[in-house]
Each structure stands twice: as C-alpha cells, then as structure tokens.
C-alpha cells in the first residue's frame, strides 16, 4: 500500500473551514439555479431536505469510514476492495475532480466576467483563476488547508451580509404553496440537491488528521451544519427576493441576488465584495482539487513530481473549460451529476463494508 503523505496534523478549525468552503462554493455556480428553477416556491424546503440528507451521509461517512479504516478514502478502497478496486475508485475520483474543476472554472470565469469584466475575453478571467489555483496547489497541502482558515471566514462574512441585505425585504408570498410543484417534485429536487454537497468526498481524501482524530466527526459535522444553514438561507433569500419569471432565463443565482442589494446611496453595491470572495472561493477549491488530483495520481500511478503534473493539469483544464461552449449543452453539468453521485455512492458502499468488517472483527 502506498502510504498517504497527507498526514500532517491539521487544526480542527482549519478542517471546519475546509468543509464549509467545500459545501458553500457551489452557491457561486449555476448549480443552485437548476434546483431553484424546477422547485419554484418549494426551493428552500428542497434545499433543507437535501442538506439534511447530505449531513446524514457526511456523518455516516466520517463516523464509519474514518474511524474503521486507517488512512484516507483511497486506503479504505484498497483495504476493502483490493488493488483493482482502488484503481477503479481512483479513476472515478480523478474523473469527478477533473469534471468538477472544469465546471467550476467555467462557472467562476463567467460569473467574474459578468460582474466586473463584461467586455474582456473569457480567457483573461480563466487565466487569472487558474494561475491562482496552480500557484496555490504548488505549495504543500498544509498551506492550502491553512489558507482556508484565513479566507473562508471572509467568504462566509460576505455571504451572510448578502443574505441579511436581501432576506428582510423579501416577499413571503413567494414561499407559497409550500410544496411548490407537489411532493414528488420536492423529493426529486431534494435528491438532486445533494450534488451541492458531494465535494465533502475531497475531505475524505486528505485523511483529516485533526488535532484529535476522535473529534473528526464532530469537527466535520459542525462545518457541514453551518454550510447547510448558509445554503438554506441563501435558497430562502433567493426565493423571497427573486421572482420566478426573472430567474428562468438567468444562470447565476448569486448574481441576481447581488443586484437586489440596495442600501440607498450609501455603499450601494456589493459587487466588489462578491467579486473578491468568488475569486477566493474558486481559487481555494481549485487549489485543493488540483492537489488531490495529483495525490490520487501519485497513489494510483506512482507520479512523484508535483509541478509538471499540476501545471499540465491546469493548462489542460483551462483549455477544456474555454472550449466547453463547443460541447453539447449542459454536458459538463450532467457529467458533474453522474461522477458526483457515482463517487458518493462508492464511498457509501465502502463505508458500509468498513462498518460490517469492523463489526465482524469485533465478534471474532
């Protein structure tokens, strides 16, 4: 077994902030909009239910997998399913991370361009983001995780400010009928909404050796609950404030909500702050993502030179992201769904196996 090098001890608070950023960065993408459009007035309820389901899954994964298997998720796959199982899982993880990164880069580039650089070419923003992500990933993993502790509070503060600035002026009648298109619609949207939380898998790849591993479930759960609350409040704020007719033809919910903020002539626009935190959030996620892609390559294929792999990946992902308009519409989005749910299903399966094995060994 190739031992995971990512075992440096991380502060539990840093891990909490990693969890929060992983679970809220998708607020900046078009993923929530796909749910808002189909859920209508039931969007907050769907969001809450998918959040509760995600918390359950996260608790199950951290408590079963990390407590019963020594190492990270890949070590668990090897222990439970053998070398072939590990390679297959590595390929699935790499596919998810790569697709998710392409999607994230494309989304954030478009969002940042929309907010601040409407006439500049898209590649200009893409280069800006990927450069930040690659430079971040070239440092060690500890630095990337530590950066979350510094920047995630800023991102959270701005999101809270955005929510507070919009939620109190909302039209509560937009929340009714509570079940929107009906119970079936709420349940299906709640299920698809779990995609907002699939990036928690990345945490399981780091083998989160917090200050005390015993408390890892608690640490992760605190972060996850906080992120769930932010996601729910964002959905609530969006539903209260943005009419369905206006949301139908738009891509980015945060952009629509941001435009609604109005403090009179004093400090009129939140655009600059949203621009800053969206750049920070995407760079943090992509740095972590690149680090983990490299680490997965290292553990499965034995790559040891980080800079060439990370730079090559950065260039490749940027090129694919810039050419994504040539792909069939929403193909990257569907790939994110397929790979995300695939990885999550595999992880749940691994956690169940780990739990069963642990119970059996205890009996022996």
């Amino acid at each position: 077994m190739v031992k995971n090098k990512l075992t440096a001890s991380f502060k539990n608070s840093d891990i909490t902030f990693v969890v929060i950023n992983l679970l809220i960065y998708r607020i900046f993408t078009q993923l929530p909009m796909t749910i808002f459009k189909t859920s209508g007035s039931a969007a907050p309820l769907s969001n809450l239910l998918s959040g509760i389901a995600a918390i359950g899954i996260i608790w199950f994964l951290t408590s079963c997998l990390l407590k019963n298997i020594n190492g990270n998720l890949l070590d668990a796959a090897e222990t439970l399913f053998g070398k072939l199982g590990k390679v297959l899982f590595c390929l699935l993880i790499i596919a998810y991370l790569a697709v998710s990164m392409i999607f994230t880069l494309e989304n954030f580039s478009n969002l940042i361009r929309l907010i601040a650089f409407p006439t500049s070419p898209l590649w200009f923003v893409t280069i800006f983001l990927i450069l930040g992500a690659v430079l971040g990933a070239l440092g060690n993993t500890h630095s990337v995780i530590r950066l979350h502790g510094i920047f995630a509070p800023i991102i959270i503060t701005v999101l809270v400010l955005l929510i507070v600035s919009t939620i109190y002026q909302g039209d509560t009648s937009r929340l009714f009928p509570l079940l929107g298109g009906g119970t079936n619609s709420v349940l299906s949207n709640s299920f698809s909404g779990i995609i907002l939380y699939t990036d928690i898998i990345l945490l399981l790849l780091i083998a989160p050796n917090g200050e005390s591993r015993t408390y890892i479930t608690k640490t992760v759960s605190i972060g996850a609950i906080f992120a769930l609350l932010l996601n729910f409040l964002f959905a609530l704020s969006f539903t209260l404030k943005i009419p369905q007719t206006i949301a139908q033809n738009q891509q980015f919910p945060i952009y629509l909500l941001m435009k609604q903020v109005y403090f009179g002539r004093f400090f009129q626009r939140l655009d600059a702050l949203i621009l800053l935190v969206s750049a920070l959030s995407s760079m943090l996620y992509m740095s972590l993502n690149l680090t983990l892609i490299f680490d997965t390559f290292r553990q499965s294929l034995g790559f040891s030179q980080k800079p060439p792999v990370v730079i090559a990946l950065g260039v490749l992902i940027s090129l694919i992201s810039l050419q994504s308009y040539t792909f069939p519409q929403n193909s990257i989005l569907y790939l994110v769904y397929v790979c995300g749910f695939g990885v999550m299903a595999f992880s749940i399966l691994a956690a169940i196996f780990a739990k069963v094995r642990s119970v059996l060994s205890e009996k022996k």
Partner: protein
C-alpha cells in the same frame, strides 16, 4: 529549492504584469450615462425612445440651484430615436455619440400609456436583462407622452438630475403614487392574473386618474395644484393581463400605499358633516400592512380586510357637531372604512384587477401549485363582498 524560488518569483511577476491591465476600464469622460428613458409608441411597428443623458460637466455635484424658472436643465441632454426595438435605438444612439453608452445610472423608465401589452412586457424584459440596469429602477406611465415628461422634468433644489430621480424613487413619503421597480413590475405582469400598478408621471398640472365625487365626506386631494407646473408622480395606472385597464387618482394611490404599508404615516382630510364648519384633519400612522381573511358563506365569498390604523385628530378643540372624542373617531373610522371599501369594490367590479395581491393570501391555503388555480381566484375576487375593519 533555488529553482522553486526562481519559479515563484517569475510567476508572481508574470501575474502582476499580465493581470493588472486595464481590461474593461471606462473613463468617466468617455462614457455617456443614460439617467432616464422614455418609451412612446409611434405606430404598431415603431417606438420613439427618448434617452436622457447626463452632462457631468454641468453638474457641480453639490446642492447648487437651478431655479431660473423656464430655463432648460443643462445637466442633461435629450435624444429621441425612432426604432423598431430598444436595442436598435440604443445602437443608433451610439452611432452618433462619441462616448460609450452606459445604463448603470438609469434611474427612471417612463412608458407611454398608449403602449400595447407586448410593448410593456417586451421592454421590461429587455431592460431587466441589460447587465447595467438595476432591478430597483423606478418605472412610471406618462399621462401624456413619455418623451414630453422626460423633456419637461425640472429638478427642483437639485443640480444633478440623476440624483433627483434617485431621491424621488427611494424616498418613502410619496403618498399619492405607488413606487414600483422594474423587477417587480415585470414579475407582476408576467404571472398569474398579470396585475400591477405604476405611478402616473404628469408633465403638467392636469388631473390624475378618476374625478373625485364632491358629495363624499372624504376630501379629495386632486384639487391641489403646484404653482410652478413642475412634473410630478401622482395617481396610478392599473394593469391587468399586461395592459392598462384603468387609472386611479392620488387618493386611491394613498389607500393602496396604506394597505400595503408603503407609507408609514399620512394625513386624511374629511368634511365636517355639520354645515358651515371647516374640514377635519387626521394624522394616520400605519403600524403594519393589512391582513386579509377569506370566508365562504353559501355561494358567496367575503373578504375581510383588517387594517390597524392609529388615527389622531389634528386640532386643539373638539369640532362642532361632535359631542365626544369617541363620536369624532367613530365618524372618522366609518368614513375612512367606507372609502377603503369603495376602493376595493372598484378594484373588484370596475378594474377587475387584484392589485392588492389578495390571491397570495388565498394561495397559502393550498399545499402545491397543482391544486391552486389562479382563474378560480379571479372569479372569486370579481364576485366577493368586501368588509374593512379599522
């Protein structure tokens, strides 16, 4: 280690030099800012767009006066473009302006009342999708021509026309007109029964909306005139199915504002029923917006509107014709309640437009959209009885 340091320094230099460029830079003196837009229908295939552009060089930025009577407002320039749609008009305007057009300071959009329903909907959609147009931009309907209104606007006590529009739209004490922004307007005329209200933009001192009945105990405010004949927002145009179905005067707009708590306080003047006595003036504070209750008895629905009002008589002594304060306040409540009821019946039977969005309260009774039928609500609204509790 040295190689790594060299790489990082190189990357940092590359990043700072390449990413700190001036993409999307816009110099203020190279930009033409639209502050108001008027849309008139010329014929079925063409519109007249009146663009009011800010003239920053004429704006001193402070509170400098421009009260020279009839002199034109030099802080803005107006351009009229006839075109089949807004984008063609904007591009056409860009053809002869040396500066780049920017709509991020657009504060007021005025529609002509002769616009067809597609005209209102399409233009609202176009404008809300413009990146630079803010959702809270104020929208109004001109009593005559939208272009005329924009040309005749004379900012009083304000050197900056854009600031004048902004102050007009954000303040909360415009009692005699509703304040509707482009985002809400588009939403309201796009869904369900497609009802909305817009303030009426007057460019002269003509009457707004329906004439007031002189026999009423409620003293109408439409007789008030501004001596300087300035343009103003007063009364409201009522929309149903995306087009104007009627107009209401400033008093009705005040009732609309009270029931929705768009204003926090106002004064109401009533005639003293005792002959030969002066009018009675009451200060009304509105602690919260109206509550609605819908009940069904036999085949008829009764909509009870509960509005909590804090009414205070303005005067030192009990007016003649009243024996006690209770009698005075009962009279006030009854008269105000009757006026509110008349307003609701006018909406229900006359305009047939639920601009108070009572249907949204009714909608709460249903679990999901499959069970909620807006057309059923429309029938209920048009035949319901109204009762107002103050």
């Amino acid at each position: 280690m040295k190689k790594n340091k060299f790489f990082y320094i190189l990357a940092a230099i590359f990043a700072t030099t390449s990413l700190s460029g001036c993409y999307d830079s816009r110099e203020i003196d190279e930009t033409a800012y639209i502050v108001a837009l008027g849309i008139d229908s010329e014929n079925q295939k063409s519109y007249n767009y009146t663009f009011q552009l800010a003239n920053p060089l004429e704006m001193s930025g402070g509170g400098a006066e421009n009260e020279s009577g009839g002199s034109p407002d030099s802080s803005v320039q107006n351009f009229v473009v006839s075109a089949p749609d807004f984008y063609i008009a904007k591009n056409q305007l860009n053809n002869f302006l040396s500066k780049t057009i920017d709509m991020s300071h657009l504060k007021l959009i005025v529609f002509s009342k002769t616009l067809d329903d597609d005209g209102f909907l399409n233009h609202s959609q176009f404008l809300i999708h413009e990146r630079e147009v803010r959702p809270h931009t104020l929208v109004a309907v001109a009593s005559e021509s939208a272009g005329d209104f924009i040309k005749k606007v004379k900012p009083t006590l304000e050197a900056n026309t854009a600031k004048y529009y902004e102050l007009m739209s954000i303040r909360s004490d415009n009692i005699y007109a509703p304040s509707t922004n482009i985002s809400d307007f588009l939403d309201q005329i796009s869904i369900n029964n497609r009802t909305s209200v817009l303030p009426i933009a007057h460019s002269s001192a003509e009457s707004s909306g329906e004439a007031h009945n002189p026999d009423e105990l409620w003293v109408g405010t439409d007789s008030a005139r501004i001596d300087s004949k300035n343009s103003c927002l007063r009364g409201m145009a009522v929309f149903k199915n995306g087009e104007i179905c009627g107009y209401m005067n400033g008093d009705c707009a005040m009732i609309f504002n009270i029931l929705n708590r768009k204003i926090k306080s106002c004064t109401i003047t009533l005639k003293n029923p005792a002959p030969g006595n002066s009018n009675l003036v009451f200060r009304v504070n509105i602690p919260k917006s109206a509550g609605y209750k819908i009940e069904k008895s036999k085949n008829k629905y009764l909509i009870t509107v509960s509005q909590n009002l804090d009414i205070k008589f303005i005067g030192e002594f009990l007016p003649e014709g009243f024996n006690s304060e209770d009698e005075l306040y009962n009279f006030a409540k009854q008269t105000i309640s009757q006026k509110f009821t008349d307003f609701l019946y006018d909406l229900s039977r006359g305009k047939r437009a639920d601009i108070m969005n009572m249907g949204n309260h009714f909608k709460k009774l249903f679990a999901d959209t499959t069970k909620w039928d807006p057309t059923l609500w429309q029938k209920i609204f048009e035949s319901a009885d109204f009762s107002v509790n103050l």
